[in-house]
């Protein structure tokens, strides 16, 4: 099965329930969309993330009531450097969608999703620990996997694989 090229035109993807809901709410919240390998990705504006999450969770057509995962990708040395990735699942509709927020290295901070899904608690702590992304409004933003006094954020691309010696 050869790969089809990704669809990035927002016009073609308007029928997707999540895109339609976000467009109806605030067209400026969507920065970019991508449909690639049967997976939907929505790039959101940083300021609208938490509200968009709450919207997608509560809307009857989307019903993304389950937060599968939160992670991050570091595109060092490009700017904006970080992409925080949220994988949502709708248990009733059996659908997935991926939300992304781009953050620059000067102020890698985004609003926490813990008030929408308490599941984000550990996931966001892990991203904070390994990438140094700050989640504003997180109830307990401390390192999760690395020791408390560890220096640096190991999954950043400018952190060597062998660690600092």
């Amino acid at each position: 099965m050869p790969l089809a090229p990704p669809i990035t035109e927002i016009e073609q993807l308007k029928s997707h329930p999540a895109v339609a809901r976000l467009l109806a709410w605030n067209p400026a919240s969507i920065a970019e969309v991508k449909f690639d390998r049967d997976e939907m990705t929505i790039y959101l504006d940083r300021s609208s993330l938490r509200e968009a999450c709450a919207l997608l969770r509560d809307d009857a057509d989307c019903a993304f009531n389950f937060l599968s995962d939160v992670t991050c990708v570091d595109w060092f040395p490009a700017e904006p450097r970080f992409e925080v990735v949220y994988h949502l699942l709708s248990i009733s509709k059996k659908e997935r969608v991926r939300l992304k927020v781009r953050l620059d290295s000067a102020s890698p901070a985004v609003e926490s999703a813990t008030s929408v899904w308490p599941a984000a608690n550990f996931f966001e702590r892990e991203v904070f620990d390994l990438f140094g992304i700050r989640f504003t409004g997180h109830p307990y933003l401390r390192r999760l996997l690395m020791p408390e006094n560890w220096e640096g954020h190991p999954l950043r691309k400018d952190y060597p694989v062998e660690g600092y010696r």
């Binding site: 790969l3 990704p6 690639d36 599968s68 992670t71 990708v73 996931f123 390994l130 401390r142 996997l145």
Partner: protein
């Protein structure tokens, strides 16, 4: 949702309470989980899991390896279900590349995954019962687990770190006599599950320790990201194998056990019934095993057979190239989720077009399941904490990665 966000436990909040440290070296925490408890007498007031003692940085290591070299690393994440990890990773990369997998390989993958589920659930049942005080069950469970491990050894040469799946198919043809051995096992296994149930299900001590203990409602389970039997024990009817099928699971008929009570006993019943369902799937896989190749026809990506390497120059060249410089994967990203014995295991693989993955992230089912612990345990006795930890079936290797 605020009630689901636990407050951190650092020092006693009241005069009458004290802080108790459980783990990281504690036999009932299944590895190196540290749990900080604030207790009032024997009642748990607050509880906070503290993890990270087994962090090995596998995600970072993956970024320095070729795509094929990552497969053995995935075994080490969840050492009780290595083949499920293998499957999830290879499915993600296959989706990234756009490979079509021959039916025999898909059916073998399903067969081995269900054997892995049996293996993992047996360890869970044995250790969980041991935690609560039923020592005998462990011996019964490990008797059958030994048979499953011997099958893994037969097929891959390793008992635990199997690394049997490859991008594009399987590593080797299943050896002679393998299917007979599996069939022999499955024909007896259902009676074995009856034996475990005879020991536990109706046992008054077992029911007293598990029924009504560590309750979790369906809403809380979904909000906290719990998946797998932890979620199904609370009445959420969702199984990725049935609802979002992968690797040919749509060809199999099986039931998804769901219980509505949401206590330790409900999760126990879910898993025990899953043992029977997995056994049914293995039997179906044996009966309908298709003939044909075990590897996809993609010369630059799939490692060639040893025999071909000795006779064909192209095969030798491809082998050399794949081993020394890997294969380039078109840029893109994929999130692949499979139903592991513990819940939704997801691999998020990002490629920038090079021969090494740009980013591999594992969504650990246990990490999310562990977040339900405060909700389950607060206001209950310390002894129930042990039952609750056992019932969410944690594997620290997966939590800490």
């Amino acid at each position: 949702m605020a009630h689901l966000t636990p407050t951190p436990v650092l020092e006693p909040a009241q005069d009458r309470t004290m802080i108790l440290n459980m783990g990281p070296q504690h036999p009932s925490t299944h590895g190196v989980l540290r749990v900080i408890l604030e207790i009032d007498g024997e009642t748990v007031v607050r509880i906070m899991p503290d993890i990270g003692f087994l962090h090995t940085g596998i995600e970072k290591t993956c970024e320095a390896k070729f795509y094929h070299q990552v497969v053995p690393l995935t075994d080490r994440i969840d050492y009780l279900c290595p083949l499920t990890n293998n499957l999830c990773y290879v499915l993600a990369v296959e989706k990234l590349v756009g490979l079509e997998i021959p039916p025999k390989a898909q059916w073998m993958r399903v067969l081995l995954n269900e054997l892995t589920r049996i293996n993992s659930h047996l360890v869970w049942l044995g250790t969980h019962a041991l935690d609560i005080g039923a020592m005998t069950v462990l011996l019964y469970c490990f008797r059958e687990r030994e048979e499953v491990l011997k099958m893994f050894e037969m097929i891959s040469g390793q008992r635990m770190m199997t690394s049997y799946f490859r991008i594009g198919g399987l590593a080797l043809e299943p050896p002679l006599g393998f299917f007979e051995r599996v069939r022999d096992f499955t024909s007896r296994f259902s009676n074995r599950v009856d034996e475990y149930e005879n020991l536990l299900t109706g046992n008054p001590i077992w029911t007293a320790r598990t029924k009504g203990v560590a309750r979790l409602t369906a809403e809380d389970a979904t909000a906290l990201g719990a998946s797998g039997p932890t979620m199904r024990g609370s009445g959420v009817d969702f199984d990725l194998r049935r609802d979002m099928p992968y690797s040919g699971y749509e060809n199999f008929k099986f039931n998804v056990p769901v219980m509505t009570e949401g206590d330790v006993f409900a999760r126990y019943i879910c898993r025990v019934r899953e043992l029977r369902e997995s056994n049914k799937i293995v039997q179906q896989a044996l009966d309908g095993m298709p003939e044909g190749p075990i590897k996809a026809n993609a010369p630059g990506i799939v490692l060639p057979d040893r025999e071909k390497m000795k006779t064909q120059m192209e095969a030798l060249i491809y082998h050399f190239k794949i081993v020394t410089e890997g294969f380039a994967v078109p840029a893109g990203e994929v999130y692949q989720a499979v139903e592991s014995p513990r819940g939704e295991m997801g691999y998020y693989v990002v490629s920038d077009g090079a021969a090494k993955p740009y980013r591999v992230h594992m969504r650990a089912a246990c990490l999310a399941n562990l977040q339900t612990l405060p909700k389950m345990c607060e206001g209950r006795l310390i002894a129930d904490v042990v039952a609750a930890i056992g019932s969410v079936d944690i594997v620290l290797g997966e939590i800490d990665r």
